[in-house]
Symmetry: C2
C-alpha cells in the first residue's frame, strides 16, 4: 500500500551543490565520483530500494523471521532474492577499501544510499548494514590474515557480520559482561557465553556469518579493562578460503518485538565456539567502538529515512483525501470536499516533518563528509578537525534524528487519521520500526551522556571550538546576503544559546556531575538545533544561488519555504531547551528512589 | 509481566483535598459522596481494575477479537467474565441518573474510576465507556419511551451501546455522510448504509447492543443540516422489554490495528435495519455532540491512564535494573552496579512523565467537577460558567493529554531500553494502545480547530474570560504565600502568554482564517500548559497546607518536587509555542499542494 520515491534530487543537491564534493577530486576515490557518477549511482540505488526492497517491507513485517528447531532462521519471503540482487549489484562494497574488492567511493555516497535502503525497508537494511560495521572493525583492528580471510567475502556480500555486545544482565554497562574466552595455545580461543539482541545473528541470506564478540579472557581484569574482541565465524574458514566446520554457536531464540520483524533479533549461544582475538588483549571495547560509531551513524540515517518514507505517504494521502473545506473558501469546488492538504494544520504537520528531514539530511551528509576527510585528506590538521567534528556530531545525529524520526513517523500517521492506525495502510509499521532506533547502538540518553561527558570536554573542547569556528566563518562569509539574513540570524542566535548552555555545563558539572546528567538530553537537543540551523543555512545559501540560474526554480523556492518552517516552527525550541538544562540536577535528584514507585 | 497499582491516594487527594468535593454536599448526589465513601469506592474500583482487568490486558492484545462467518464477534479470553464482574458490581451506573437505576454519584468520581479502568485495560474499558456515552445521548435527547426502553438495561450493563458516525468517505467531514433513513409511517425508519471504525460494534459481552447511528432521512437537505440521529438496536425490544427479532445489521469485518486489539473495531453494515429517530429531524449532529463531548473526556483520561501505568512499570524497572554507577559515586556498592534510577536522565524521563500525569489528573478532575456543577448546581450563573469552562477545556484535555499520553508511554518504554521494545515486557503495548487516543473522537488537529475556531470566540470569549477570572482570583488569594510563589509566578507568566496568543489570534484570524488554522495546535499546547500550571498551583497549595499537619509528610514533599519538575522542565515550552503560533499562516500556505509530493 505504501510507496517510496527515492529522494535522488535532494541527495544530489546536498552532495554535489551544497557540499560540493567535486572540490575534493584530489582525494582517493573522489576523482571517481563526478557529479554524473554520483547521480547515476543514486539513480540505480534508488531503483533497487524502491522496486526491490520496498515491496518487501510489509511482507517482512507480517511474516517476520522464523527460527527452526535446529537453530536455523528463515527470513521473510523475498528477502533472500532481494539480498542476492543487493550483493550482485556490488552495493555492499560501495565505499569500502579497494584492496579488498570495494569500490572505494566516498563514504558520503554510501550514507545517501543507506538512507534509501533504510527508508525502503529498514529491517532488510540492517543485514548488510551490520555486516559493513563488522567489516570496518576488522579492517581497522584485524591482522592482515584476518582481513584477507574475511573482508573480500564480506565486501561481496557473500558473508555477513554481526556485533555481539549485550548479555542479559548487561547492555549499557559492558563492564559486567561474563562471556569468557579460553586460550587454546594455538592462537585460537574457546568462547562461551550468551549474547542477546543480536541483530542479523542468524539468517539464510549469506553463506557465512562473521560474529564479532566481546568476551573476557580467563584471568582478565574485571570491568571494561578486561574485555577483548574476537572474531567467531559461524563456519570456520579453511586455509584455501572455503568453508569448513560449523562452529559451536547457535541462535537460541528470536525476540518478539514491536517492529523490524523482518530482521532476526537473536539470542546467540556460544558453547566453546572457536574464535580469534581481534586487536589487542583487553582492548576490545576500543576496537568495538569503531564499529559502534559507524553503526550509530547508520542508525541516525534510519531516523531521516523512516521519517521521509512516512512523510511521502502522508503527503500523498493529504493530496488525495477529500474532507472538509478550506477555511478561506472551497479550493476544489467541483469535488464534494477539498483535499485535506488545504488545511493549515495538516500542512504544518507535513512541513515540520519535511524541515527536519531535509535539514537532517544536510547535517548527516555534511558529517559523513567529515568521515571522508578524516580518512582521506592529506592535511593533518584537516584530518584532525574532521575527526573531532565527526566524534562530536555522532551522538547528536544518532539521538536527535532517531527521536524525531519516531515522532515524525507518528505525525505522518496522524495525517491519515483512523486509516493511519490500521495495518492496511502501512503507516503504523513505520512508527513501530522507527521506535527501535532510539534504543539500539546505545539508547539516546547514553548518546546525550556521551556528548556532554565525553565528546564536549575532550581535548579541552577542541571539537566544539572547531565547529563554532566553522559557524563563525560561515556567518562572516555571508554578511550582506539579505535573503539569507534570517538563516544567519537564526544560526547566530542558536550558537549563542549553545555557548550559554556549554558555559553553564562547564561551571556546574564540575561542582556536581549530576548537573551534566540532568542537562544532557536538553543540551543534546539544543546542540542539534544548532547543527540543523547550520545545515539549513548551507541549504538556503545554495538554493538562493542556484534558484535564478536554473530551470527548476520551484524546487529552490520550495526549499526556502521549508527552511522558513525550520526557522519559525522548529528553531524556537532552542530557548526552551536552554531554560530546562539550566534548571539543574537538584529537583531531579531530590526524590528518594523508592518514592518513584507506585502505591 | 506488567503490574498496575491504582493511584487511590492521589485520586482521593485531588477529589477530597484539592477540589474539596465535600463543599458541594448540598447538590444532588454529592451528599452521598463523603470522603470515606469516595475512598471506599476508589478502593473497590481499584481492586477491580488491578486484579480483574489488568491481568487481561496482554491477553486482549495477543488474542484480539475474532469475527465469525455469521458476523458474530468473540472477545478475548476472560473479557466476558470480567465484564460480568464489572456489571454486577454496579460500576456502569456509578454517576448515572437514579431514575434509571444509576447511583447518581458525582461525575468526577466516574472519571476517577474510568482512569483506573483505562490504565488497567484500555481496550476493555472502551466497551462500557462507549455504552455510557450512548446512554447519555439517549438520556439527553431520547423520548421518555426510548429512555425507559433502553436506559435501565444499559445502566446495569446488560446492554451496551455504540456511536456510528464515520463512513468510508467521511470521518471528520460528516456533511458528506450517505447512510439513509426511510420513514415507514409507523414512527420507525429503515436504515441502510455502511459505517466504519465502530468501536465495540459487535461482541459477546452483552445481550443487546444499542447503536446510535447518524443517517440522512430521504429528501433531507445536503450537508450537516440534513443529518439525523437514530437508535438502532441489535435486537428489537418487545413491549414487555424482552428481546425480540434480530435487526438487519451486521458486523462486516474487523479492522486490524496497531493496538487496542482487545476492542472490536467494526465495519457495520445496516441493511434496512429498523431504527427510531432520537431528538429532532436533521438535528442529529447536535444530539451526537452530547455523546462526543462525553467521549472526548473519556479519551482524555485514557491519555493520563496509559501514561500512568507505563510510568509505574518504568519506575519499577528503574529501581530494579542494575547498570552502571552513579556519576557521584556508587549508591549500591554491595551490588555489581547501581539501579538505573540513580542516573539523572532516567529520573528526568520518569519525572517529566509524572509531572504531566499528576498535573493532568488534577486538570481533568477539576474539569469533571465543572460537569457536575453544570448539571447539578442550583445557581444559574454557576451552571453557565461551569458549562462554558468545560466546553473550553474539552478539546484541550482531549488533545494535550493524549499527545502526552503517547509521548510519555514511549518515554516509559525508553527507560527499559531493549526490553521495552520486546512484547514480553508489555511496555510496547502501552505505546501502541495509547496511539489511537490521538485520533478517535476527533483527531487532535480537529480538537485544536474546535478550540480556536469555536470554543474560544463563542459568546464573545466568555469562557476564557471566566477561566482567566478564576486564575486571577487564585493568584490574588495566594499572594504572600512564599513557598507557593514559583507556582503563582509560573501561572501568571503562562496566563500572560495565553493572553498574548489570544490577542494575536483575534487580530490575525479575522484577516485570514488560515492564521487560526496554522496557529491552532501551538495555541492548544500553550493553553494546555496554562491549564496544567493552574492544576499544579492548586495541587501545590494544598500540599503545602497539608504537609505539616499530616503523618505522611513525604507524600506532600514528593508532590512539591514533582511540581518543580513541571515548572522547570515542562512549562518553559510555553514561550516556544507562543513564538511558533505567531509565525502565522504565510509560510505554511506558501507551497503548492503538489509540491508536497515526493519526486
Amino acid at each position: 500500500m505504501t510507496t517510496y520515491v527515492p529522494p535522488i534530487k535532494d541527495l544530489s543537491f546536498v552532495i554535489n551543490d551544497v557540499l560540493q564534493v567535486g572540490k575534493y577530486a584530489n582525494l582517493p576515490g573522489f576523482a571517481d565520483a563526478s557529479e554524473e557518477t554520483i547521480e547515476a549511482i543514486l539513480e540505480e540505488g534508488g531503483k533497487l530500494a524502491a522496486n526491490v526492497l520496498h515491496p518487501l517491507n510489509k511482507v517482512g513485517d507480517r511474516e517476520g523471521c522464523v527460527r527452526h528447531d535446529d537453530g536455523s532462521v528463515t527470513t521473510p519471503t523475498g528477502f533472500k532474492d532481494a539480498y542476492k540482487q543487493f550483493s550482485d549489484g556490488g552495493w555492499q562494497g560501495l565505499s569500502f577499501d579497494t584492496e579488498y574488492g570495494g569500490q572505494g567511493l566516498p563514504y558520503v555516497l554510501s550514507v545517501a544510499f543507506n538512507e534509501m535502503v533504510s527508508a525502503a525497508n529498514m529491517a532488510f537494511g540492517m543485514y548488510p548494514g551490520l555486516a559493513m560495521g563488522a567489516a570496518n572493525a576488522l579492517h581497522a583492528h584485524g591482522t592482515p590474515e584476518q582481513k584477507q580471510t574475511y573482508l573480500p567475502k564480506m565486501v561481496t556480500g557473500e558473508w555477513t557480520g554481526t556485533m555481539n555486545l549485550t548479555e542479559p544482565h548487561c547492555g549499557t554497562d559492558l563492564g559486567m559482561l561474563r562471556t569468557k574466552a579460553v586460550p587454546q595455545g594455538d592462537g585460537s580461543y574457546k568462547i562461551s557465553g550468551q549474547k542477546i539482541w543480536i541483530s542479523a545473528g542468524e539468517h539464510d541470506l549469506a553463506d557465512n556469518i562473521v560474529h564479532l564478540v566481546l568476551a573476557r579472557i580467563e584471568g582478565a581484569p574485571e570491568g571494561v579493562k578486561g574485555i577483548s574482541l574476537f572474531v567467531v565465524p559461524k563456519y570456520l574458514v579453511n586455509e584455501d578460503g572455503s568453508l569448513g566446520e560449523r562452529n559451536s554457536l547457535q541462535c537460541g531464540g528470536l525476540e518478539e518485538k514491536m517492529g523490524i520483524h523482518g530482521n532476526a533479533t537473536c539470542v546467540m549461544n556460544y558453547d566453546e565456539a572457536t574464535g580469534w582475538l581481534v586487536g589487542e588483549e583487553h582492548k576490545g571495547l576500543k576496537a568495538m567502538f569503531v564499529m559502534m560509531n559507524e553503526a550509530r551513524l547508520g542508525v541516525a540515517i534510519q531516523g531521516v529515512a523512516i521519517s521521509d518514507v512516512a512523510y511521502q505517504n502522508a503527503a500523498a494521502y493529504a493530496n488525495d483525501r477529500l474532507q472538509g473545506r478550506s477555511l478561506t473558501g472551497p479550493k476544489a469546488p467541483d469535488k464534494p470536499a477539498d483535499p485535506i492538504i488545504v488545511h493549515p494544520d495538516v500542512r504544518r504537520m507535513l512541513l515540520e516533518q519535511r524541515a527536519t528531514i531535509e535539514g537532517g539530511r544536510a547535517w548527516m551528509l555534511w558529517a559523513a563528509l567529515q568521515a571522508d576527510l578524516h580518512a582521506k585528506s592529506e592535511d593533518e590538521a584537516t584530518r584532525q578537525t574532521a575527526d573531532d567534528i565527526l566524534g562530536l556530531m555522532t551522538p547528536a545525529l544518532k539521538a536527535y534524528l532517531t527521536d524525531k524520526g519516531f515522532a515524525h513517523a507518528s505525525s505522518a500517521l496522524q495525517v491519515l487519521g483512523g486509516s493511519g492506525y490500521t495495518e492496511e495502510w502501512g503507516m503504523e509499521q513505520f512508527v513501530r520500526d522507527a521506535r527501535i532506533a532510539m534504543i539500539y547502538e546505545g539508547a539516546n540518553g547514553i548518546q546525550a551522556l556521551d556528548l556532554v561527558g565525553r565528546k564536549l570536554p575532550r581535548d579541552g573542547g577542541r571539537a566544539i571550538q572547531a565547529f563554532f569556528a566553522e559557524i563563525d566563518a560561515f556567518i562572516a562569509d555571508n554578511q550582506g546576503n539579505d535573503e539569507l539574513k534570517p538563516y544567519i540570524d537564526g544560526l547566530a542566535a542558536a550558537k549563542a544559546d549553545v555557548v550559554d548552555g556549554t558555559q553553564w555545563l562547564m561551571q556546574n558539572a564540575f561542582a556536581n556531575p549530576d548537573n551534566a546528567g540532568a542537562a544532557s538530553t536538553d543540551y543534546l537537543n539544543l546542540f542539534s538545533l544548532l547543527c540543523l540551523a547550520h545545515g539549513w543555512a548551507q541549504l538556503a545559501r545554495t538554493a538562493i544561488e542556484k534558484r535564478d540560474g536554473e530551470d527548476d526554480k520551484a524546487y529552490f523556492e520550495n526549499k526556502l519555504i521549508t527552511g522558513r518552517i525550520f526557522l519559525e516552527r522548529i528553531l524556537p525550541d532552542a530557548k526552551a531547551h536552554l531554560a530546562k538544562l539550566k534548571s539543574g540536577a537538584e529537583p531531579i535528584m531530590a526524590m528518594d528512589a523508592e518514592a518513584f514507585m507506585a502505591g
